[in-house]
Structures are given as structure tokens and as C-alpha cells.
């Protein structure tokens, strides 16, 4: 164990920092879920990142990355959040599908899909959930029927109804989970890509509780895609989805820097209010919560450094990924509730555009978003089941 950065790692940090200082937009962008303009502004930012080869640093150079290891990815993320850079509109692509493609994709698929993903030219949505299949994902009904096109090439014809697809309202592509007609549960499933603007696809934005069209429901009617769009073998869909979920829960979806940046802002908020607000300043419970939020963010960071080091040493992500998902989602809610408690009588007020432009966090909107954490990426109840059954060995 050596908890010191190497000179190369420090140099990498310095490089990231100076690039971000020169390139991060001075004014915050409109949220990518709020409007098409906000979405496209974020796409533009992805292109800027790509121009500096920062799209996804862990990928090999030929796919638009820098071929660096997970520790450097963490350093990149730390600098990214430190700089207050825009949210990653393509997180479904770079953090979920990307690593999965890297593991299960053919060389041709990687060449076709990864570079435009790293550049933000193709932005991805995840289309797994269905109205009748949420926690019980193996209950999906959407089908992929084998067929031939006019030239005799293998195709799939997709039919079904997907829902809660994040970024689905504006994204270009989706990776969906489908089943062979007549198959059941985990068997006969395949992971298949389709374009969200292709014939037969209808998408209806769904408003989130903050009012933004942050996700969509997607109807597929005889949507034809080449067999090339299937990731992994036919019938291997469930297995691949679980690997994706491992990356999602265990490492990439929520980098610790996100919470450390928020905890630092919370500490600053607390210090300002302690002096200026009679109520907040006299409440020792608030300070204990601020300390707790800081410790949680630190613990999460240390745990991810540990995971990253283990993966570099050749280990694989296992069911302990479920402990991660519970920890970050719960710490996020606690942190934001603490912020609102400190804001006190002002907590209900929407922040003014001027304050957001000045770099103030949007505590209220971030709090509302934190409430989704225990639901998406597999609800926390499901994660607790997984821990009990696969880590602790309790009976089903």
C-alpha cells in the first residue's frame, strides 16, 4: 500500500487542471435535461473535451481515449469536479455502455461505436426498464425477432415499450434489452442498439419531479436493426446487463469527486451561515451533520481508490458493488438534506439565475435529484437483497 501519487500522476493532474482552467465554460450551461438547447450545449462541451483527448481517458488511444489507468481516471474526475465543469450528458455511453463494449464488443463494434461516443457525436440512452419490468428486469417483454433484410443480411425486428430512459428525450442512440419471442425470464435475452430517430421508434418525454423532461418512454414498432447492433452473443443479454450494472453500481456512475466537491461546498455554506444566521450558528446538530457528510464523501473516495487499485491488480467487480450503490445514494441525500437544513427558511426558494451564474450550488434541485438515487441503477432494497444473498449467503 502506498497512498502517494507518483510524479507522473501529479503531472497528469497538473495537465488536466490547466486544460480545464483554460476550457471550462465560465457560465454554467443550461441543464441537459431541461431543453434541447441545454442538451446541445452539453454535446458541444463533449466535443471540446474530445478536442483535448479528454472524452474518456481510460480508453485506448484508437478509440478516442488516452489509455490511462483507473487511478488517473479518478484524478481526472477530481479535477473535473474541482473545476466545476459541466455534467456529462453522455454518461450512459462513456460510463456504462463503453466499459461493457470494451469487454464484450467485437473489434469492429468498438471501432464503430467508441470514437463517436468519446466525442459526444453519438449520445446514448439506456433502454432496459419497462412499465411491467422495473426491479424485476427479467420480466421484460420487448422482443427482438430474427429476420433478413432485402439483401439477405441478418437483422432484428424490435417491438415493445421501454420507459424511464434517462436522456431518452434528446439522445441519438439507445442500448436496449430484448428477448427472443417466446423466451422467458433470464433466458433468450440480447442487448441490442437502436437509433432513437429511426422509423418505428416513438419517444415521449416524461417530466421528472423537478419538471424537466429528463427521461422518456420509448415505443418500438417493427424497428429493424442489423445483427451487428447486438452486443455479445444472442441470449447473453442478461449476463451483459449484469456486467454493465456492476460498472454502474461499483465504480463509474458516481465518481467520489462529485460528493467531495459537494461536501466542500457544504462546509463552506456552513461556515458562512454559522456566522450570519443566528439559528444555524447555534445548532450543534447541523455541524455534526456537516462533519458526517464530509466523512461519508471521504470514505466513499477511499473505497473507490481501493476498488480501482484492486481492478488494476486484476480483480473483478463483484456483489460488493451493491454496497457502493447504497452508500453513495444515501450519503447524497444526507448531504443535501443537511444543506437545506442550514438554509433554513430559505430552503424552499428557487435560486436566482444570478446566484447560479455566480457558481452557487443549486441545493434544492440537487436534493430533489438525490432522491432518485435509491431508485435507479437497481433500487436500494434490491441491492440489500443482493448483499444478503450473494455476499452474506442468506437463503433466497
Amino acid at each position: 500500500m502506498d497512498l502517494n501519487y507518483t510524479p507522473q500522476q501529479n503531472a497528469f493532474r497538473a495537465e488536466v487542471r490547466s486544460w480545464l482552467e483554460a476550457n471550462v465554460p465560465k457560465q454554467p450551461l443550461e441543464h441537459y435535461d431541461a431543453t434541447r438547447e441545454g442538451f446541445e450545449a452539453h454535446r458541444q462541451w463533449e466535443a471540446t473535451l474530445k478536442s483535448g483527448d479528454w472524452g474518456m481517458v481510460t480508453w485506448p488511444k484508437e478509440y478516442g481515449g488516452r489509455g490511462v489507468d483507473l487511478i488517473q481516471w479518478l484524478i481526472f474526475e477530481e479535477e473535473y469536479y474541482r473545476a466545476g465543469a459541466p455534467g456529462r450528458v453522455n454518461q450512459n455511453g462513456i460510463f456504462l455502455l463503453g466499459p461493457t463494449l470494451m469487454e464484450f464488443g467485437t473489434h469492429e463494434q468498438k471501432q464503430r461505436f467508441l470514437p463517436p461516443m468519446a466525442a459526444g457525436e453519438e449520445i446514448w440512452a439506456q433502454a432496459w426498464s419497462e412499465p411491467q419490468a422495473g426491479s424485476d428486469l427479467a420480466g421484460i417483454r420487448a422482443t427482438a425477432q430474427r429476420a433478413k433484410n432485402a439483401n439477405g443480411d441478418d437483422e432484428y425486428v424490435l417491438n415493445g415499450h421501454k420507459i424511464w430512459s434517462s436522456r431518452g428525450a434528446f439522445a441519438d442512440w439507445a442500448f436496449g434489452l430484448f428477448r427472443e419471442p417466446g423466451s422467458e425470464r433470464h433466458k433468450g435475452t440480447s442487448l441490442i442498439f437502436f437509433r432513437l430517430d429511426q422509423p418505428g421508434v416513438t419517444r415521449n418525454p416524461i417530466r421528472k419531479i423537478n419538471g424537466h423532461p429528463g427521461f422518456a418512454e420509448i415505443f418500438l414498432e417493427d424497428v429493424r436493426v442489423p445483427a451487428f447492433n447486438r452486443l455479445g452473443d444472442e441470449g447473453q443479454g442478461w449476463h451483459i446487463c449484469m456486467a454493465t450494472a456492476g460498472f454502474e453500481r461499483g465504480l463509474m456512475l458516481r465518481s467520489p469527486a462529485r460528493y467531495q466537491a459537494a461536501a466542500a461546498k457544504l462546509a463552506a455554506l456552513w461556515q458562512a451561515r454559522k456566522v450570519n444566521s443566528r439559528d444555524a450558528g447555534a445548532d450543534p446538530v447541523l455541524e455534526a451533520d456537516v462533519i458526517r457528510a464530509f466523512m461519508n464523501a471521504e470514505a466513499y473516495a477511499l473505497s473507490i481508490y481501493q476498488t480501482a487499485s484492486r481492478l488494476i491488480a486484476g480483480a473483478k467487480i463483484g456483489p460488493e458493488a451493491s454496497t457502493n450503490k447504497i452508500f453513495w445514494s444515501e450519503l447524497d441525500i444526507h448531504l443535501h438534506r443537511t444543506a437545506l437544513a442550514i438554509l433554513g427558511e430559505e430552503a424552499e426558494l428557487l435560486p436566482s439565475a444570478a446566484r447560479l451564474a455566480a457558481g452557487d450550488p443549486d441545493w434544492l434541485d440537487d436534493y430533489i435529484f438525490s432522491l432518485a438515487g435509491p431508485i435507479y441503477a437497481g433500487s436500494n432494497e434490491i441491492q440489500r437483497n443482493i448483499i444478503a444473498e450473494r455476499m452474506l449467503g442468506l437463503p433466497r
Partner: protein, 343 residues
């Protein structure tokens, strides 16, 4: 940057687990409680023979010259068996301090010797009855008093496998060893308490898991019920996010700055909270059995209680985290920050 344990460290932890698992079993606990003792001389001799008591002594003093991280791994295993003997406090804290103050002291030559330690921060001294001598903090100085030159007044504690004493002594009947690094000693002790907390917590979960697989109600093992599962999953989450803090605190303890102290405090807080959560969950999962003396879970609850208050209360440790948080730079790039780098 490499947050992994070495193969030797993993092997060492494994050996320790086996050795302690064999020599400190539920039968041993029960026999000791029956006999109303909290020290097993045979086990202590085995620990000494296997080098555990000289682990942190410098090599030129006959020790193994290992670091806090190695001792912390042992402490986890000590917690897992609720080890009654003062392995971490004597071999992990007192002996290294004595070696730093008086490298030629005759006590250092005896691997079986126990030295108790009495910092100003603790109102009672643990295990003093088994000690050859006691290191005492007074006014920034350090005194070494022989066991027979002090009066020990037993202070009954709830933990049946732990003994603590109030100490009456006079500086005229003790050796004045001058100023010592009590800050380091306290950090080490808090760290090892945290590491024991991890072991205590895991044992509570493991005991409850074993019971939940066997005990049936309504025709099914109780471990198949989700309410039972979720108690234990939540405890396991707490353990998983205390462990890396303990390891990082151990690896960084040498810096002895605001950052390293805060990390030790963080470790102590969350590891013993995990132990507390796990012990209470385990009692609940055992039902009426969990409330009985017959089931061993209470030992883990009680040791947790003892270690939570010893070597700095939670309030003390929260204060040290607050000092770091509110007086030093924070943010995503500060996870491994040190004083020197910020100077």
C-alpha cells in the same frame, strides 16, 4: 498510488485469523467467564512465540520492525475473536513507546512482558493487572511505574473479558522517562481500536448470518425474510465503508498532522459505529436468544461499548475531524493531502 495490501500482509492476516480462531474460541470465552478471568497465559505465550508481541519493535531491539498497517490487520482479527489479552495496547502502543524512550530497557527483551499504558485521556487503565509496568502520562512527561509500585483499584466493567483499573501512584516511585510522543501513542491506540471495531462488526454479522440460516419460523429459515436480510446488509455496508478508512488511517498515521489525525478519528468513529450497528442487528436477528448470556453476541456489543469510549470519545474524534474540515482545504483533490504539501 496503490491501495492494496501486499501478498505478505494478506498472508499474515490469514495466519493470524487461523491462530486466533484456534486459540480464542467460544469455548475459551465461556470457560474464562466461568472462571472470572480475563487473561489466558497460554494464549499469550503462543502469541509471543509467534512474534505478535514484538511486531512493532525495531529490529535492533529484537522486533519485527513492522508498521501500524500490519498491526491494524492483526487488530481486526483480534476484534473478530474478542481477544481478551492486551495485544494491541501493549505490543502496538506501549512497547513501541518504551522502545522509543528507553531502547535498552530490560522489559523489551522479554517478548512475554506486558506494559500497560495510561494516557491522560483515559480515566482508567486497561489490563494493568497483567502488566509488569505501566507507562503513565503526566504533565507532558512520561513515567514508567513498576506494577508493584502502584495501587490498582478495579473498576468493574460490563465487558466480562476486559479488566480496567483506577490507578494510584506517585511520581517519586516511578522512572521519569521524559517527554514522549503521546499524540502518536493515542493515534495508534485509536487506530487499533478502530481496526478491532471492524473485526467485532464482522463477527456480529457472521454470527447472525449463521443463526439466520438455521433458525426457522413460519416454515422457513428466518434469513430468507427480507427484514432480517436488510438489517444485516445495512451492517455490512457500514463495515465496507469503514474498512478503507481504517486502512488509509493506518498507512498515513506517520504524518502526524491535522489530516492524518482526522483520518484516524474518522476511522475510529465509523468502525465502532459499524460494530455497534452490527452488534445490535445481530441481537435483533437472534431474537430472545440474542438477549441471553448463552449466545455470544453480547460479548461483541460490550467490547464495542468499551472501545467506543476509550482512547478518545466520539465527541473528541468528531472535533478532530471538524478541525481538519474547517481549517484546511477540502475538495476532491484533497483525499490524500498532507500538511507539508500545503505549507
Amino acid at each position: 498510488m496503490d491501495f492494496t495490501l501486499s501478498d505478505e500482509q494478506l498472508m499474515f492476516a490469514d495466519t493470524t485469523r487461523t491462530l486466533l480462531g484456534d486459540t480464542c474460541t467460544p469455548e475459551h470465552w465461556r470457560k474464562m467467564m466461568e472462571q472470572d478471568v480475563a487473561f489466558d497465559a497460554a494464549r499469550w505465550a503462543t502469541l509471543a512465540e509467534n512474534g505478535f508481541t514484538v511486531l512493532m519493535l525495531p529490529e535492533n531491539a529484537g522486533g519485527l520492525g513492522l508498521a501500524e498497517l500490519d498491526m491494524a490487520l492483526i487488530a481486526v482479527e483480534a476484534g473478530y475473536v474478542a481477544l481478551p489479552e492486551p495485544l494491541t495496547e501493549s505490543a502496538g502502543v506501549a512497547m513501541p513507546m518504551l522502545a522509543a524512550l528507553a531502547p535498552d530497557h530490560s522489559l523489551l527483551a522479554d517478548p512475554k512482558a506486558i506494559v500497560a499504558i495510561a494516557p491522560a485521556i483515559n480515566p482508567v487503565v486497561a489490563y494493568a493487572d497483567q502488566a509488569a509496568a505501566i507507562l503513565i502520562e503526566r504533565g507532558g512527561r512520561t513515567f514508567l511505574a513498576q506494577r508493584e509500585d502502584v495501587t490498582l483499584v478495579a473498576a468493574p466493567t460490563i465487558d466480562p473479558l476486559r479488566r480496567v483499573f483506577r490507578l494510584e501512584w506517585e511520581s517519586t516511585r516511578a522512572e521519569d522517562l521524559g517527554p514522549a510522543d503521546w499524540g502518536l501513542a493515542q493515534d495508534r491506540a485509536a487506530l487499533f481500536a478502530a481496526a478491532q471495531g471492524l473485526g467485532l462488526a464482522q463477527r456480529s454479522v457472521d454470527l447472525a448470518v449463521a443463526y439466520a440460516k438455521e433458525r426457522t419460523q413460519f416454515g422457513k429459515p428466518i434469513g430468507s425474510y427480507q427484514a432480517v436480510k436488510h438489517h444485516l446488509s445495512s451492517a455490512q455496508v457500514a463495515i465496507e465503508f469503514a474498512r478503507p478508512v481504517v486502512l488509509a488511517a493506518a498507512a498515513g498515521i506517520g504524518a502526524q498532522d491535522t489530516y492524518s489525525r482526522a483520518r484516524v478519528s474518522h476511522a475510529k468513529l465509523v468502525a465502532l459505529e459499524a460494530a455497534d450497528q452490527a452488534a445490535r442487528a445481530a441481537i435483533q436477528v437472534h431474537g430472545g436468544m440474542g438477549y441471553s448470556w448463552e449466545v455470544d453476541v453480547h460479548l461483541f456489543l460490550k467490547r464495542t461499548l468499551a472501545l467506543t469510549g476509550a482512547w478518545g470519545t466520539p465527541a473528541h474524534h468528531r472535533g478532530r475531524v471538524a478541525a481538519r474540515l474547517l481549517s484546511r482545504p477540502t475538495g476532491p483533490d484533497q483525499t490524500f493531502a498532507r500538511e507539508a504539501a500545503n505549507a
